[in-house]
Symmetry: D2
Subunit: 345 residues, 4 copies
């Protein structure tokens, strides 16, 4: 039985395992101050066309979000984001643990818009009792969103313009960045990202690495003393080179993007298979997560053959489920799933 529950069910792409093997007995300094991290950072600067960016490697996504946010906000400030944002729902209050309120905005498709942010900032500014309220101090979005949707280049441009006007940073959580950039219909290029926000990260964990996230500060004024924050928040890996080695492998010859592209195309096949049967989706998207809405009966039948995640109830009879693809999904698993859908729905 093949499991589609998430994109982190397996180990890592073979190129990374090979690199770990090949470098295993090298002696290097710890804490990210080794040649592999330096090299990986240079490759990222090249690929994302941000020669002056400051780049840091952390272990996981929740840790990265909490650390970046803690480094950007003053204590009386909070972070604007979608109500469905990972930081608001699935990080056990890590942002609040570091003292900051999350200022959630409604986002039915997972995205927040420039006009919402503008309105939130204005509303705060014009409130006579604003000093009794948390001051919006930054904006957090994810690309793709929790629902696998992606922002257009124009949407990001508009969001960044509002942030720039109000002098607050825009932070993009890219835990699944590659799946977004390679999605059909995406008009954002890697080299656009550093110009469309102030800091973002390139997710490794869900994109073929064992673990690891690469934070890119395109606005280097924001990264002063960031290594202190990494250490304070428990994200400074003693054998930091493990992060450098993995991102070297991922950035080499576009591997990161190839793996993501293939996974997106496999997801497209799943979407198409459900669509051919007239199945609706919780949300229209083109990344590696597929959210068909199935009857309870269908869910029970599918669950005997495939692993997937029950996402949320839609009505008394239907629930949305989630199928994820990844670097590790074999073509054959998709063949089987397609065939099963064709025959059983």
């Amino acid at each position: 039985m093949f499991y589609f529950e998430s994109d982190y069910l397996e180990g890592c792409c073979p190129q990374i395992l090979e690199a770990l093997q090949a470098t295993n007995l090298e002696q290097t300094p710890g804490y990210g101050e080794d040649p592999h991290c330096a090299k990986a950072a240079d490759m990222i600067r090249f690929v994302f066309d941000c020669p002056d960016a400051d780049i840091h490697f952390l272990v996981g996504g929740t840790q990265t979000n909490a650390t970046v946010i803690a480094s950007l906000l003053r204590p009386h400030q909070g972070v604007l984001c979608a109500a469905s944002a990972h930081i608001n729902v699935h990080e056990t209050g890590a942002v609040e643990h570091s003292g900051h309120k999350i200022l959630a905005l409604p986002a039915p498709d997972g995205k927040i818009r420039a006009a919402q942010v503008q309105e939130a900032l204005e509303a705060h500014q014009r409130d006579f009792s604003r000093e009794h309220m948390v001051q919006p101090g930054m904006v957090y979005i994810s690309f793709p969103t929790e629902l696998g949707t992606i922002y257009t280049k124009q949407e990001l441009t508009d969001l960044h313009a509002v942030c720039t006007e109000w002098e607050i940073p825009l932070f993009i959580d890219g835990a699944r960045l590659g799946y977004g950039l390679e999605a059909s219909g995406c008009n954002v290029l890697p080299k656009d990202l550093p110009r469309l926000c102030d800091v973002f990260y390139i997710g490794g964990t869900k994109q073929g690495a064992l673990f690891g996230e690469a934070v890119v500060f395109s606005d280097t004024r924001l990264s002063e003393d960031f290594r202190y924050f990494i250490k304070q928040n428990g994200g400074m890996l003693a054998k930091g080179r493990l992060l450098g080695i993995q991102f070297e492998a991922l950035m080499n010859n576009g591997l990161y993007f190839q793996l993501a592209r293939r996974a997106d195309r496999l997801a497209d096949r799943i979407r198409a298979a459900f669509a051919r049967k007239g199945i609706a989706f919780l949300v229209r998207n083109t990344t590696n997560q597929v959210f068909p809405v199935l009857t309870k009966d269908a869910i029970a039948r599918f669950a005997a053959e495939f692993g997937f995640e029950e996402w949320q109830a839609v009505d008394a009879e239907h629930s949305a489920v989630r199928f994820c693809t990844s670097w590790a999904t074999p073509d054959r698993a998709i063949d089987d799933l397609e065939a099963y859908i064709e025959k059983n729905l």
Copy 2:
């Protein structure tokens, strides 16, 4: 040139790399709820003879310390420890970041004694203005200490007795636990540890793993909801099985202890070589860290041939330096160092 700066300069022991390779395409649930973590926990329960212990795996030491301490203290409480403790000196204030004061006690040899803890607790209790002071809420020690010294079984027994009497937990940081347990002169056995404290951890990062620390709650009343804390503090690895796989390998056939024992014996050879030349040591110890006190001139000469760490100035002419051994130290590097010492001091 061989580097002795630390015990985390290389990747990991070959058995771990093999296990990662062998399991790479297995599909498992995330976040530590996989069969490898379950198996590794069982192996630890067996090896440390604590069949009822609650065991969790985290990524790194600072993270583990901050997470365990945050889970044990109420906001008005602090942690008693040696002034030289890692949490007090080298974790960028992670404990304070989670709101707690560190209550440092003097510890010239890195160890704190039961009488000191007793006196600190009594002093707090008899102070009429104690409510204006931070309440001691737990004790943190490390085994071995920052200076590579080890507690005797009696010292641990006494410390634990004081803690038990005052109803506060004793937490042992075991980042280098194996080096301590295998040190010559150590009379503490693995199976003693769960009885000598309330929670401890088995360090992987510095003992042959890529990363990873295994927290063992022998007092399971203390671990309620601990997984929430792991997540909140950024320590819950998505591919949690990586921790389980590594600790399975380390616990298999006593590998963890073999690697540590060999490193300790290599360190003994370094100690002996310096001692033969009449060199003094910053501290007398028997674990994998050696702290000879050398003249500035000798340091400069040695530095051209070997990597090591300058630890602290002792007087105007002398400094203590640190040589570490590990699973990865080749016999030949020790041969060379011995020969160099013999000839050049």
Copy 3:
């Protein structure tokens, strides 16, 4: 011109000023350990019929909320409350500053119901990824609510039953407690309160004192070490007797309730005057805050004659405004307002 903006526009009721004068040269211990605080606590125990309650005095409401909540929750827990709750909207993130997420529930009339709390607790419990979410650890309500509405005895009984079943405390913010207890239609008596929750506070600031809130722990297991929390959160007044002296005066001969009752009756007159003119209200309530919905034109006219607060826009043409009464509102100000309403609407 008379101002109705709030119930804290003036100093304090004359009885308190007299008591401050009379006791000014007494020498007493500081920090709340004086005879006046002891006496006031005894009077509160008598009036609220809770002979075993543990009682503490703090300076202000935000401080009291943050301190009580910080003392009750573990770091991974959050507080369930109405979206409109003071702690969620008007305390500059003080709860988050101490590390806790606010888990807001919809509450159009300012009140949350037992069924909502039950559902939130169940939803958390049945979520397989609950360890990635903040655990509900307590319930906060205010009596009266931010909208001046009051809970019935049955509603409080039901809320407390749910909390008791789930073993989480129910905390009642009583910043305007007297106005609630004396409101027409209120069927909750002072002696009911300690049985209907685990901890509540009796507001002084908005009820005739210069400042001060009296926290009553009817569940004394929850107040262990609470004085440490008061000090840590900056609420331990050096001249703590000022709080005792004020609450002695307020509890003497039912003054606290008399002042509140009179203010509620004056507010009833304002409500009736608007109602006679067919004016709608943002919410139906019977406490000392009145929320008529007026046209922009009417608001402008009224603003030339009386002080009041613009509360929120209702539609393009109408806004709700707030008139508050207090111990300091002269009958004559109400006469004038009644007359003005009668003539000008």
Copy 4:
């Protein structure tokens, strides 16, 4: 029996009570935005000759310290201060509660010197693993210190010069500021203070007010959004005018300084009386706290006649005790104490 335990045993100076009475029925806006606060701030600007300073009023000292420090530091920074500093010893970890480590320096006479601060900053800067340590982000001193000693103008000048060079703020806790400025031998004038530090506060609680501390930011770049911090830390008094009214009274005609001067002179008489009998002192000082070292026997005899505080044991037979004077100390109490000392030592 007269009590000399502290300088906050009584209510407030009569001028303040009168002012509270006189203004009691005025209607003013809340939260410090009233004419009395504005007027008091102007008076402070005049008296301390800092026409551009930003001035805020808080309720108590611990709260003020925690709030100012939280507003000045980033999360990875700590505060340098004397080991005996109030923030380090007697504030129940309020600074750590807001996430910051206290970096204590030895200070036998309660004072820290510029050279110590310089050395601490340099040591941090030259440490290769500084990112693993808390970064010194500000300096806190108190004037007078916990031991009632005072800094000379030169010492403050030097401290401020080091802070300025390293671009970190110098914060002076002035809980007993007046007693320091009026002490014999003090060569610091009120108008010097704003130039000798970046932010300080003028203590009211221990200097004749019911409560209240006036924070003066001479470097107004540091006070941006400070009112948010006051609110978040529970220090924003609803009836904020109470603070303005009190400081108006204290600044009027130099009352603040007169009260302090008289108390200092009364303390001088106590010091002289003990000195005449050959009694030693814990520390040589000239402010309102006197620390004679007495035998246990003498302490027992004195305790039957006067209230005072046992401060610390000096040896097996002797302890230092503390006598405080204040605005409320009657001449006659000093006459009695002098006579008793003369006759009984």
